[in-house]
């Protein structure tokens, strides 16, 4: 019960954080797309940039909290899948998302 309420709270908190992250990300995308950059060019700008590293790490962590909790609701309501097995699957998705995301952040910004 308390967990379910806290999950809801975490979802909304991460949502607020993501709203900011997404706006920054969209603006950056538009800027980058207009430039028409190659991989080497992009990486030349992003590698070693600690500010962006921190930003995208926060972004990945927030997404890893937000998306799985959202999926949990969808799985319950549209597939009728609730309970321990669903929670475990969603938790696994969170870990996978976090791992892949941090790997991507390392590849681009470290």
């Amino acid at each position: 019960m308390r967990t379910q309420v806290l999950l809801w709270g975490a979802q909304r908190a991460s949502a607020a954080l993501l709203a900011l992250c997404v706006l920054v990300h969209l603006a950056t995308l538009v800027y980058a797309v207009q430039g028409g950059l190659s991989a080497a060019e992009i990486l030349a700008r992003t590698r070693g940039n600690l500010a962006w590293l921190a930003f995208y790490t926060v972004f990945v962590l927030a997404v890893s909290v937000h998306a799985p909790i959202g999926l949990r609701a969808v799985l319950g309501e549209w597939l009728g899948w609730r309970g321990r097995s669903c929670d475990a699957a969603v938790g696994l998705f969170a870990i996978v998302l976090c791992a892949l995301g941090l790997r991507a952040v390392m590849a681009v910004f470290a």
Binding site: R12, A15, A16, L18, A19, V22, L23, L26, L29, V30, V33, Q34, S38, A39, A40, I42, L43, V60, V63, A67, G70, L71, V74, F93, V96, L97, L100, G101, R103, A104, M106, A107, V108
Partner: protein, 100 residues
Amino acid sequence: MSRRVALVHRVSGIALALFLPAHFWVLGQGLAMDGFLKWTEQPLVKAAEWGLVVLLAAHLGGGLRVLALEFLPWRDWHKSLAAGAAALALGAGLAFALAL
């Protein structure tokens, strides 16, 4: 109107949740990205990118609406937030399309 915005919000969320692992995996390839970036030059991929931006903007718009409804003290005009969310998504989609 709110039901439709909620449905778009949900479907866009699912689409983004499915897209993100692939997105992270590609980015994690590092310099091997070049071959992939060449592939993204194709018009079909550009269109898909535009679609993703629209999905993201739609999800963001719907999400801001939910946050407003749940955390701001209730006002009657809150019922119109659905229209606001839709407008936001369309605006972002248009901006990106023009930038392409």
